[in-house]
């Protein structure tokens, strides 16, 4: 069969091996058990049981349509490109499960012009600024002093705490904020009025790194589970 040219034999075997590897990848990689292998890193707190497709949903159109749209964009035939393979995992996607009417710091709040300087330092318009996924943690920021970016000139009228906010701010003790204040405001708990009764900094640090919740085990709203989210998605699918 390959008598004429031995190179053909090598090409033939190489092609077969390539096809075999392709078929194996095509079969094995989409399997649930391969998710850990494909993942960029361990999931953050609370997301451990999610499957990849909960966030990495298929992008619009088929593969060729996606290539077509992006080539068209490259040559100026359309203004915007499209997601390739899977949709971009952005804030809008996070909010499909995590949106709550009582969020004290909703991401859209920071789109107002006055927060321009603050979001240049910490982009609070995006969930992933603090909660970058695949890091086996809760908050990826190195410390919890981010409140300073907006509240640097805070003045509290009728201050209820024994060590006044003005004193804490004067001493630049920005790491103390979270000892009383739950950033997103969803926990059901009583705020301390004496510094000695506040949550210790070590517990806050452990919580931010993915540890036990020191505020309360009661929350006003719970995020959608993957099953609930699938049901909602199915219901409103056009």
């Amino acid at each position: 069969m390959f008598k004429g040219n031995p190179l053909r034999r090598r090409q033939y075997i190489g092609s077969l091996i390539g096809i075999a590897i392709g078929v194996i990848c095509y079969i094995i990689l989409p399997m649930k058990s391969a998710e850990d292998f494909l993942s960029l890193g361990p999931m953050n707190t609370g997301h451990q049981d999610l499957s990849c497709v909960a966030c990495h949903t298929p992008a619009k159109g088929n593969l060729f349509q996606q290539i077509q749209a992006n080539v068209a964009k490259t040559f100026g035939a359309r203004k915007s490109g499209v997601d390739f393979g899977t949709e971009n995992v952005d804030t809008k996607k996070c909010l499909e499960c995590h949106d709550r009417p009582n969020d004290r710091h909703p991401t859209h709040r920071f789109l107002e012009a006055k927060y321009q300087d603050a979001i240049a330092k910490i982009d609070a318009t995006q969930c992933e600024t603090c909660h970058t996924e695949h890091n086996d943690t809760r908050v990826v920021l190195p410390d919890a002093t981010f409140c300073v970016n907006c509240h640097y000139d805070l003045e509290v009228v009728n201050d209820p705490i024994d060590v006044p906010h003005s004193k804490l701010i004067a001493k630049k003790q920005w790491s103390t904020c979270l000892q009383c204040h739950d950033f997103h405001g969803n926990h059901i708990y009583k705020t301390a009025t004496k510094i000695k009764d506040t949550i210790s900094l070590s517990k806050i640090d452990a919580y931010l790194k993915g540890g036990k919740d020191p505020f309360s085990d009661k929350k006003k709203y719970l995020p959608l589970s993957e099953e609930e989210w699938q049901k909602v998605k199915k219901k409103y699918k056009k």
Binding site: N62, R78, S80, P106, H108, A113, E155
Partner: protein, 282 residues
């Protein structure tokens, strides 16, 4: 040289085949916002934001007078922490607006809405920078101010938020955390700031803006009714067709929204028909 020419020819032919192939692989993925051509853009962003700002003024005045003002006289409570678990109250007008703003952000309409003042009860609502400078002009002449926010790439409009009803003045003057306690009816108490990304809108987009605002109103009012349903210790008003002015009642969401529609539709329709006529007659 000949080899190079052949290679280039091959690349050109391959590219041509690839482009033909790509173009014949099914319908293209529609481009977001590309459904309306430039000629369909009947409204300037300023016109649409003025129209929705008028809707907002009317809606908030109705809520403030008809629900908060009359409701307080009947014993209903309203609080800035109305969504806290231990608080059994409804949203104050500023929080009502913030709820509408949040609901709009959930929709596909890229409309931003904020409320600010130079003397806000909550410090986070204090106007700063460019907004504060423009607010000084608004206070002087009560005329809307428009600017393009380079950082966010959005067209921005600011409108006076007037003390239209007695409850606005009374609550702000009596609130323990209020930095100003001599408000009077007719004062410019603050400003609403609105954002939209494009400089002009089609008829469909303009209606979409109005719908997003109205849906937001309905969502927040429904959230208030749900809070009432969950009251554990406070008395629950009768929810039906009657308003607090007639007793310990609250209108249903449908009755409230219907009243909003009746009060706002004339003005909004005038704008839509006047500007939309040219497009729809084409």
């Amino acid at each position: 040289m000949r080899k190079l020419t052949i290679t280039l020819s091959k690349i050109a032919v391959s590219s041509f085949v690839a482009i033909i192939g790509l173009n014949s692989c099914g319908n293209a993925i529609p481009e977001e916002g590309a459904e309306s051509s430039v000629s369909d853009k009947a409204f300037s962003v300023e016109e649409v934001l003025e129209m929705v700002a008028v809707e907002n003024d009317i809606t908030r005045t109705l809520y403030t007078k008809g629900i908060v003002g009359a409701g307080k006289k009947q014993g209903l409570k309203f609080d800035e922490d109305w969504q806290d678990d231990e608080v059994e109250a409804g949203p104050l007008p500023a929080l009502f607006l913030r709820g509408i703003s949040s609901d709009i952000r959930k929709s596909s309409v890229p409309l931003g809405l904020y409320l600010g003042s130079d003397y806000p009860i909550n410090a986070s609502n204090k106007l700063e920078g460019k907004q504060a400078a423009l607010f000084a002009k608004i206070k002087a002449n009560q005329k809307p101010q428009f600017f393009y926010d380079e950082a966010q790439k959005v067209h921005t409009a600011m409108f006076a938020d007037m003390a239209m009803a007695a409850p606005c003045v009374n609550c702000h003057n009596d609130h323990k955390n209020s930095p100003k306690t001599d408000w009077k009816l007719g004062d410019v108490m603050g400003a609403t700031t609105w954002q939209y990304p494009s400089d002009s809108l089609s008829y469909k987009e303009a209606v979409g803006v109005l719908n997003a605002y109205r849906n937001g109103t309905k969502a927040v009012y429904n959230a208030y009714l749900k809070e009432i349903a969950d009251f554990k210790t406070s008395p629950k008003p009768t929810i039906g067709k009657t308003w607090p002015s007639k007793g310990f009642n609250l209108p249903t969401a449908e009755v409230f929204i219907d009243s909003v529609r009746k009060l706002t539709s004339y003005k909004s329709l005038e704008v839509l028909v006047k500007k939309g006529a040219a497009v729809t007659s084409n």
